[in-house]
Structures are given as structure tokens and as C-alpha cells.
Symmetry: C2
Subunit: 333 residues, 2 copies
Amino acid sequence: MARMTIQQIADLAGVNKATVSRVINGNSNISEKTRLRVEEIMKKHNYVPNSIARGLAFNKTFTVGFCFDYTDKQAYANPFFYKVLQGIEEIVYNHDYLFLMMSDHDNKKRQSTFERIVVEHRVDGLIIPNTLLNEQNYELLVKHNMPFVVTGENMLPKEGVQWVDIDNVQAGQILSDRLIELGHRNIMIYAGAAAVKRDKFIADRIKGYTNTMMRSKLNVTVIENADVLKTLNRNRLEDEHNDNRHYPDALICCTHEQLFEILDWEYGNPILSELTLATFDNFPMSQYMKYPVHFVEIDLEMMGRQAAQMLFSLMNKDEGIPKSISILTKIGN
Amino acid sequence: MARMTIQQIADLAGVNKATVSRVINGNSNISEKTRLRVEEIMKKHNYVPNSIARGLAFNKTFTVGFCFDYTDKQAYANPFFYKVLQGIEEIVYNHDYLFLMMSDHDNKKRQSTFERIVVEHRVDGLIIPNTLLNEQNYELLVKHNMPFVVTGENMLPKEGVQWVDIDNVQAGQILSDRLIELGHRNIMIYAGAAAVKRDKFIADRIKGYTNTMMRSKLNVTVIENADVLKTLNRNRLEDEHNDNRHYPDALICCTHEQLFEILDWEYGNPILSELTLATFDNFPMSQYMKYPVHFVEIDLEMMGRQAAQMLFSLMNKDEGIPKSISILTKIGN
DNA sequence: ATGAAAGCGCTAACAT
DNA sequence: ATGTTAGCGCTTTCAT
């Protein structure tokens, strides 16, 4: 089935193709009568404007890009990550836009797909994870004046970067609150020293934990190394008075990696049976774990929606767009 | 930074834009000298051809679509699903194509995104899951002569449908073989009756199991209802002679849903401690489960690569494209 | 309110 | 080997 062109519709309607174009684009300068006739003919012939041609004329692609960071294991390994996609999709489709996925993978050739898409202007705007917003990519985006929104807190000290992030301080707070509510008093938090330096979100989670503990007049203990935990536990086992005050009865793991590290290690160590575990964001199978894990629920779909919304505001050159949007978390079931 | 056009490059090089176009497209009818000069100028000015304009001229989009089925819980909930994406991406990017994601979600408006993309010819070809290839979508694709490849076995009795699938019969065989190798003899397989009817891949897995069991002269028992298992177990507990021959010592769950159903149910039932579990495809956290689960490894990345390769062959109108491609599985670590 | 014509950036058929 | 010209399908200015 060959596609109809605007000219064919114009001929069938006995008008100029400019008139048809006006109908398509909802131009008001047109008589009700011809508008109806043209619309009828378009419908009758299932006419759909060629979006490539429209794009050329408008200098637009009607497409936004979403960049995937495969090196960010957490991102793609987390099945809940698709929620971000769903959120983005909802907004994008409602704007009659389409949705181009890409990774920052190196191509066999010299250019990454990300670079290609920016340079070729294959999208009107871009949503990228903060892990991908380095100096180089930033320059690229600015140079090609490509509107973009970052997911996760932007750490690049540059002008004109907007982002949407989870409120990790609040998450740390409510998770600690929950553990206290459950009766725990010796709550510790586990985060690798390197990770704390590297990832602001981890520092934020610790900050939230600290806030809560201080407010509740409880001891703050940040563990930066799993070995410390082992030692603590060994001490406990050897402690004849069994004075539990110095040993954790609950442990917050800042990332899933760390949680799994603990779980792995557990197979040769009995500590877990006396320890309540907690972490951020749910994960599949959590309910089938040997020991229950408490967690905070992160509304990633909302994150996607907000990011997309922000991007459209940007492409629209709206006034008063916030620099960043923060999304609150809540305690999981 | 305003983009350069082919005309500007032509002017700078003192040639006609047709000549520049020839350089871009690697036309041989061109002198080495001017080719080098033009290339130098293009590089110097970071010239990148406008792909929308090229698309209009070529009547191509240089994009393939990948359709996501959100209603197919298995697909999106499985983090390994992203492996398929990775496989597809590898091929697509090596062809200098881009990659449009879509879902079959209903838009707020009457058209699904899938429909829109096909009707608007926003992609040159499409990869869709078999769950989405119904009569209606098939007609749509054919009507708009959009090349497409199906992932998962195609069940629609239509001409010209190509697909790539996992060899589920083989998977059932090797998984059963493994359990036998582990010393099990009373191996049963669990699959809901409705699911067997509905999903060919489940029937195939059962067939594979049956093949192996018959070859090994062992009893074939297909359980269609978890209650049967409960009964079996109750019998075992009450069986004074404790004759284990009639009770399973290993159970293959045809899907993850069923595995989890068993696991859930386990919390009020001691059967699992005496039962070896097995299922198809790995899942995250499998190593942290209370009871080990054996599984078959499915190379989803290969599946993506093959599907993409097939699609390009189709778009290329290659000769002798196979109707379908079957991917072998292997036993997980 | 409608038509005519130029132009978006590129390719390709036809000249030379 | 290179230039000329006519599209690709649509939008948009400028007439009328």
C-alpha cells in the first residue's frame, strides 16, 4: 500500500496542498466547510502525514532520547528500572513524541551512539543518567545545544543542568525511623569508604540516617568495611557477659551490592540470624530471602514522569523551570 | 552552533553539492583529489549530514523499532530481558542504525504507540515479542509492508512471519538430564494446565522433560496443580513405611511464577527441604534463596543479536532467510 | 480564506 | 569526473 501524499489529498479535495497543511496543523485561517471536506478525505484515505518530511520542514524530530548506562550495573540489573521508562513513556507519548533508546556503548567505530545521536540531532531532547554527565558529554550537549535532563543528582559544577533525583536524605531518615520503631537501638549503616566519596547519594543516605539517630539520641556508627562487622560479631560471640550494647542489632546497607556482600559472607558466619537488615529500594525476590530485608520504596515511575516533563518544558523554552526536582520515598510494605 | 549544510561545504570546497553528496555516500565516480579536499573540509567544519533530510531523500529512517510488551510480566520483570536489548543494540549500531523503543500501551488517544510507529513509518523494521503478534497487528504490519521479526515462537498461522526462539524442548531435556545426574529419580514437572494450553513454550519444556525421562526409563509426572503436591507431601508424612518411590525428590517448575508459587506456599509446608527445585532461566538473587534452585541458562543476548540480524536481512531483501532460528540453552553454573 | 511558490537538506537522473 | 536540475513531502511566506 503506497502512502498518500499531501498533494494527492489536495487534489482529491480540489484545494491547494497549503490548505491541507493548514488543516493538519490546526491553522484557524480556514473555512469550516473546506476544513471538514479535507478532514473527511484524509480520514477516508487513511492519510498520515510523513513525519520525516514534517521534521525536515519544522527542523524537528518529534523524538526524545533516553540514554542507558550499561556500565551502571545497578541501573540495568534492577528490574524496577523499567519503571523509569514507563514514567517517561507516559509523558512522551502524550506529547505525541517518540522515544529513542541508546547506550553510551562504544561503537565498533570511534563514536559512541550517544555522541552520534547528539551530533546528528536525531532527537529533540535527551534524558541521561548522572553517571553519564561528564565534562565531555556536557560540552557536546551544549555545543549542539541539545536540551537535556539528568536523572540522579547532578554533580557537575556547570550552568544550566537540570535534574530530577530521589530524596536520599529523607530515605535514610525514614528507614532509620522504621528500624527504631521496630525496637532496634544499635543501628549501624554500612557503606564502603570509596563509595561514599564517589557517590553523593550514598553520603545523603548516611546523612539521613545520622539525622534520625541524633534526633533519637542513638549512637551513629558508619561501617566502611565488612571486616569490621565480622570482628564485631566475633567479639560478641566471645563476650561472656553478652553485653549487646556494642553490637549492631540492625544494619542498613547503602546499596544492594553491599547487602549482597553481607548475604554472601553470611554463609560462613552466623551473624545474620541476629541482625535485622535494611536497604534502599526494593528488589525482586526480596520476599524469598532467607532473612527479611526492610526497605524504602522509591517511586521510579514518578522520577521518569518528572524528568520527561522537565525535558518538554526545556524544549518548549518555558519560563521558571526548577533547577532540580526531588522525589520523596516511603517505607515499603 | 548552527549546523553546516551540504551546500556550505560545497561552496567552501568550490564544488557542486552533488559532488559532496558523492563523497558522503562513497560514490566511486570521483577523483581522489577532490574527494580528499572535500573530506578535509567536512572534517574541519565538523560537518554531519542531516539524517532527516537524508531520510526524506532515501525514504528511510535508519531506525529499527523494538516493541516491549508490558502486559507480559515475564518479559519486563526479568532483568535479563535487557540482555535481549544489548544483543539487538550491538547489531543495530554496527549497521549505523538507531533504535526506537515502544510499548503497545494504549495512548490516551485511540492509537497505540505501536500502531502509530507502523502507520507513520517511523522505523524501517520492527522486532516484536510473539505475545504482540495477533491477527490485528499482523494485518497492520503487512498492510504497511513493514519488515518484522518475532521473538519467541510464532503461533500465528500466517505467511511470511520469521522468528527467533529459545529451544525449549532441548532446555527441558538438559535440565532433566542434570537432575538425573544429580541422583534424582522421582522427578516431576509442574505447569498449570491453563498455561500449558496457552503457552507453546511450556508444552515444549514438558516435551523435553518427557523425552529425557522416557529415554532414562523413569516415570513421567506432570503436575498441573500445586494442591496435588501438597497432597503428595501429606501422604509422605503419613506414610509409615516412608516409601519414597511415589513422592518427588525433584521438581521442575516451568516458569518463575510457578517456582515462586511453590516457594510462597512453602512457608507453611515442610516439603521443600526434601525437594530439589529447578527452573528455566536464571534470575537475580537465585543464589540467595533459602533452597538452591537449578536452572538452565538462556542466551538472551544471542537471541537479540539473531533477531536483529534477521531483521536487517529482511530489510535488505536477502535471499534464503530461514523461517526461524532456534537457540540452544545450557545448564547454569 | 485560499493559492502559488520558495525552501528545509539531501539524493539521483541526466547532462557535459 | 563534475555540474545541473528535479524531486522527496511538508511548511510557510507572500500574494490575491
